[in-house]
Symmetry: C2
Subunit: 580 residues, 2 copies
Amino acid sequence: MSTSEDHPVNVTEDKSKPSAFANLDSLTTSLLHDARLQYTPPLPPALQNMGCLSTKETDEKFEELDPGLSFSLKRLFPQTHGQKILDFYQDNTATAAQPLILGVVLSGGQAPGGHNVIAGLFDALKAIHPKSELIGFKDGPGGLVNNKYIRLHKGLIDRYRNTGGFDMIGSGRTKISTLKQFQATASSLEYLNMDGLVIIGGDDSNTNAALIAEYLKQNNMKCKCVGVPKTIDGDLSNEFIEISFGYDSCCKVYSNEISNLARDARSAGKYWFFLKMMGRSASHITLECALQTRPNVALISEEILKEKKTLQDITVEIADTVCKRSRLGKDYGVVLIPEGLIEFIPEFQILIQDLNRTLATKLTQTVLAALKKDELKVDYVESTLSGASQECYAGLPIEIQIQLILDRDPHGNVAVSQIETERLVGEMVAKELEKRKKADIYKQNFDPRFHFCGYQGRSVFPSNFDAKYCYALGFVAAGLLKNGHTGYISCVRNLAKPVSEWKPCGLPLTGLMNIEERHGQPKPVIKKALVELEGTKFTLFKEQRKHWAIQDAYIFTGPVQFFGPESITDDTNFHVKAFL
Amino acid sequence: MSTSEDHPVNVTEDKSKPSAFANLDSLTTSLLHDARLQYTPPLPPALQNMGCLSTKETDEKFEELDPGLSFSLKRLFPQTHGQKILDFYQDNTATAAQPLILGVVLSGGQAPGGHNVIAGLFDALKAIHPKSELIGFKDGPGGLVNNKYIRLHKGLIDRYRNTGGFDMIGSGRTKISTLKQFQATASSLEYLNMDGLVIIGGDDSNTNAALIAEYLKQNNMKCKCVGVPKTIDGDLSNEFIEISFGYDSCCKVYSNEISNLARDARSAGKYWFFLKMMGRSASHITLECALQTRPNVALISEEILKEKKTLQDITVEIADTVCKRSRLGKDYGVVLIPEGLIEFIPEFQILIQDLNRTLATKLTQTVLAALKKDELKVDYVESTLSGASQECYAGLPIEIQIQLILDRDPHGNVAVSQIETERLVGEMVAKELEKRKKADIYKQNFDPRFHFCGYQGRSVFPSNFDAKYCYALGFVAAGLLKNGHTGYISCVRNLAKPVSEWKPCGLPLTGLMNIEERHGQPKPVIKKALVELEGTKFTLFKEQRKHWAIQDAYIFTGPVQFFGPESITDDTNFHVKAFL
């Protein structure tokens, strides 16, 4: 992965590897792949004539947050704060458009549909003016800083339409934060004579887009900057952004896996499947998949935090469900666990802080380096903890103890997302049931199996919904830049309706922002949307889960379909429906 | 799970739980599920008129194995050995058929299409005579011994057509082996006045079917018995059985997962995915999926055994590939590992024998029970081993050391299938690369991620191929029983051609058999088919794998499709094609 902190600007078109496409040249495509390349996503009416596409300001407003926020944001974004929400309309009096040169960056983790945003941008640009150009920066924001790019042409774009992954131009996680990086970015954009830059990413990347937009405007540069809301996690959403792209495809893929495991559990009659669900901190994916498939248990981190549950509470609750089902002759089941769970359990929050503290000391590092065996390292680290943290750590399965000290993120901290939470919970439940067996309360053999609904879902062929949504998001981004806007995020509303009723709009990025203090400095952040415990979806789930725990209420969703009845191929999911 | 060794015959219709369907009553089906229920698999012409369906003996023969084998089989199967391979034809002079009462059992692990065999049996029976009846024994062969059954009716069958799982009547792994069990089975069949019994299962279950057929005939009972070849592993095949059912669906599901991970690896540019592939001992699934997706590395156990490779050899080879790719800027990749791998590595075969030996001693058990911590148990067990086994065990990652002593099968032996082989190999490669890094041969950060292509594939909606194949297999089984045959297995040939050219036939089960000595007694077994290192598929793989290791030759197969072009929905896979 490219890391380009303070890297000097190296203004070169990457001709040695003209594009990732070169690699795909030798690739034999499957028949389904070929068929997907032919799919043409329909467009909302407002976006069908790019030549006349104009914007107008609306009176719509974001919910007021902290009254002091606007003041703080104005200080951080003097040029771009206070912009209005934009609607699109067809202006038949518009003069002929000029060719545009736009750049695009994929930032952060893969989400199905990314290639369609780029295809949408490309087609929109060509509709605006056939001489327009689209340039892809390589391997994420790092490509922007280092000016590594490829010129995108129709032959290349056509090989990636409606496909998964971000491999057309690659992605990366470089955060543009230093002045040097901003300067390097600006140089790249100036060198390429760009009219606009589109950053496709999650909350952090869109915060970066806002900062770039502000920097460019403050420096009187021609180039504008807009963002596009991407993330499978579903945590980049608000009253206007109904959902980020990729979430629909991922939830469908994971729901299919969950229901296949439920059917397997029900058939064999002897396994309890513990599934870790990707989705970082928030439990949106877990909740959505639970509504789609009706597992016996689905943990929602936000609820666990609110009710201050301990790992032991969770363990006992699941063990109770296992026992109840066992009495009905059902020695099997399915449990969903959001990957961020342990960050929401108070005792773990403290343990992780304590571990980070002890692991940061030179003494601990020296001792750990000297000890050969993992189990000795565990014993040593345990001895450095005290009180509740020591007890919590000592009670964990050895694999988890090892993971907690060995898997570290680039900053040396415990890599929470690497923890096999599904195994942790499953093994705690197994221990609890062992106790109950000795007390003759539970009589069966408990056989937990583990599965991670993870990486295999992030780069799939996008569902028709995501294919259409992303294609439209690309057009909206082009429309915003064509009309000279900067510091906006591309948005399409009314998504639960047919495409003909979708409403494109532009949202000022600072409207999504909050200020957090980091190292004594105010930092703008887009606040992650967590599951709302008073919301429609969670309420629906809460009403039904008792029934699902005991009955086999499983729904078998099946694999994503691309041909056949529209009710099947173009269905959106509960999340979007909840906005109806 | 039912275990029914020596269980007294308890002749009762299970009315308390009339069918698993009762549970599904409350189930809301997905739209795709509904659509699958409506799918009608086409039938080969020979099976379209069951009233006139007759059989004739052919001169086709199984390859001669050991010349003494026939003699030994005649002693074990005096009544059923020596039968001829059967063809089907339409006899327009046939007299009106009588109603039949048939029973059906699902045996062993789930495979997509099982419900369609039952639906095929049911429809064939009704086509023979509307008063025919089909009875499902519950939860596997145990239901046969305990006479737990449900009467299958159209309303129930219609809810399971083209669905995955074995939950219509459940499955189990009871092996009918004692005289009491055979007597109990015979009583159940007699009590229900059965004309025939169909056992749907793998190699062991079909061996059981042959023994039941022989027992029934020796005891002059009316009831006949035939088998149906089921297993996702693909190891129940020979010159007539082109493939067992379930294999096609599973390979498609796993190939989709592999290609999604390949696309993710290629997009993020920083992960090496190590995938364990289900499929028991044989590497058929791994090989098939490799041909479908072209991963960078695919280990084939049969080749590793032949070349007597050590774990270190394998580790070095993979590390070499990682380094080669790294020099090309490709710090990512995909490695497939068959789940049975370690049984094929000589040093592990010895280690496992030694572990089984030490774990069986009272002393070891007492010490292990007394030790609280897993790492202490590991240390103790290590101290009981000697020589090469101690060295091999000591070199393993701690998680694997723990798994080897804690996860045990019902006989107390090391549960080889539970070992996280993908983690074992991945971590050995990581260690090797760490060494090379110190020697400055390898410079990157190696980030392995693990995935199991396992349970989530066994109970999926069957592919159209498996849906059609299984439906036909059900008709063939009914046709064999209608014509009074016993000791046969249902077979359909010419599967790479359209259904209109499929050729149903009946194979005598003893033709599939070998004799092995077990505890001094000759035991009939159906020999598992392993990957043939001289065969078409492996040769194809061997020719191309060097190229796949270095290039990104990935094929993205996409999810199984049920609507749309037949070339996509009804495609079979390489395995079947290799028989063309």
